[in-house]
Amino acid sequence: MSAPTYDLGTLHGGLRLPGHKSASTGQAIIDVPVPAQLVLPITQHVGDPSQPVVGIGERVLKGQLIAESDGTLSAPVHAPSSGKIIAIEPWPVSRRYGENAPCIVIECDGKDEAVLPADMPGNTPANFTTLAPADLLTKILQGGIVGLGGAAFPTAQKLMQARTCKIDHLLLNGVECESYISCDDLLMRERAGEIVNGAQILMHALQIDVCFIAIESDKPEAIRALALVLGEINDERIVIKQVPTIYPSGGEDQLVQLVTNREVPSGGLPSDVGCLVQNVGTAAAIHDWVVDNQPLISRVTTITGDGVASPVNVRARIGTTISDIIELAGGYTDSAKQLIIGGPMTGKSVTTDRVPLVKATNCILVSSETPSPGPALPCIRCGDCAAVCPVQLLPQQLFWYACADDEDKMREFGLMDCIECGCCDLVCPSHIPLTADFRVAKGRIQELADEKARAARARQRFEARSNRLEREQTERETELAQQKASAKKAGPSAIAEILKRKQTSKDDE
């Protein structure tokens, strides 16, 4: 079956940002050598932390499972190279909340000795189509694969959730709309075959036969490379879709709207409108794991900005510290001022380059200027923010309620649908840090909801306990009453007889 054709949907608002991508797209992806030490956070994904299954001093091989997934939403972690576990301790990481997180530290021996393919879990036959979709999902779960676009949602769980819905389209996200980042662009140019193969695996796992690969129109080389591969394998189910270069067209919901003209409902998921979105990097990782038995132990990342000498895309082992990678990009320039993990819009600035590269790190941005546009001035209610908001919210109104701490109103005005893209910040003539305020407010609303849920659970337990105590009390009382009644029934003569019998038995002794 060939894919249906849709007219492109339109994206509300959005911005045309300066790309700054050409700096890092000039040369091919460079492989970073295995460093002396690898630092692997046990939480590199959305959800519950994984549980270490190795001890300090133990020798591990490349690809060996070192932390297994624990809980319903989690992903395992594998050793990216061979070496010895020297510590499991807190280490600085780049995360939105908190600075230190438990990490497994491996001292590499430089041999890069891999686990034998036969020892890998769920060894796959060369042809994945012979596997049942459920087995394929189990296999993907074991590979530690998470969304590589930056959100790091465990892929297997996303697929399992999607299987409970009626899905008819797979969307591969090669949009990469944020400035500076070019790792997906380079990956599509160099590994188009693996990406397409990953798409075929995903389509088989979900039993769907339409796949769109969405790419921004400013990436002609990537489009050419993928078109070449598609022409060779002649798979009519997969179609390349060019989308306009507008930030944030690469957001999951925005991409669904652009490509299929379907709108993801408020608070819903793309699966509600029959779509599943996966990053192109994730597709390549799935290929590597399912076909080549290589779990997610390395990724491509962009090192760029005017703070590094030669911006470039590198393929580095997960756990390599940022300082090691920056060295490969020629080190810092004199103007380097700020280190940001992620892109300029959604990234997080960190204070040390000791943080490791994790599965979600798609960009390391070293910028010269500190992005401080001046002090925030009062809102003049110009409405520019509402015009650019891709989710069609009213940021100025939300800001009003955020200042008043009015959580109910903020929820009513759709704060929870905010994707924190930062467009409103950028256009605000008063330089109000809207996104930061919304992030805080969202955290607070979540906190209140959690507290409410906690209270409800405590109350349920308390009431269950009170009921139980009451029941036990009545049971005791009825039992006592029964004993009394049976004693009465027997009458005083029976009691006298029992006493007499006791007396005689005593006398016999």
């Binding site: 906690r454 405590a458 337990r461 308390f462 269950a464 306990r465």
Partner: protein
């Protein structure tokens, strides 16, 4: 004119009479209010307000015998919400506590099970003569288990 005055007066009297009977006979909506107040409380059942649980405190608040600022785990937020609901003034909290969970030092525990029967939310598990432990995710930090322990092996750990 007098007929009109008398008619209105009689209607008013009848209506007043009807209303007074209805208010006495029909169930009052205080029960709903107690429920609403109880919903705003943190349900730790800690008795730090001086009442043996959240619902008794809610009842006392509705009856007007308890002030609205007596719930330490609820904090300022609860005082604000209660004031909003009941149309009273926001007053500062009488006493504040940090959110905590109880921790049993398992090496010291002698398995007397006194703490288990003190816990209002059944968050302590363990059999007689054996070590006890606290289900951290269910502990409300009410501190009611601390006092009954004969070997002082329970301490309160602040939640970060």
């Amino acid at each position: 004119m007098w007929t009109a005055v008398i008619t209105i007066a009689v209607i008013a009297l009848l209506a007043g009479f009807g209303l007074s009977i209805a208010s006495r006979r029909l169930p009052s909506d205080d029960g709903d209010l107690v429920e609403q107040v109880n919903d705003l409380l943190p349900q730790t059942q800690c008795a730090q307000c001086g009442y043996p649980g959240c619902r008794p405190f809610a009842t006392a608040v509705v009856e007007g015998t308890a002030a609205i600022n007596l719930c330490p785990p609820g904090g300022e937020e609860t005082v604000r919400q209660l004031a909003n609901l009941l149309g009273r003034k926001v007053i500062p909290l009488a006493e504040s506590v940090e959110p905590c969970v109880a921790i049993i030092d398992e090496a010291l525990c002698i398995g007397c099970a006194h703490c288990r029967s003190a816990c209002p939310v059944d968050a302590i598990v363990g059999a007689h003569q054996l070590m006890h432990t606290i289900i951290e995710s269910e502990c409300t930090g009410c501190e009611l288990c601390v006092a009954p322990c004969p070997v002082d092996c329970i301490s309160m750990k602040p939640l970060t």
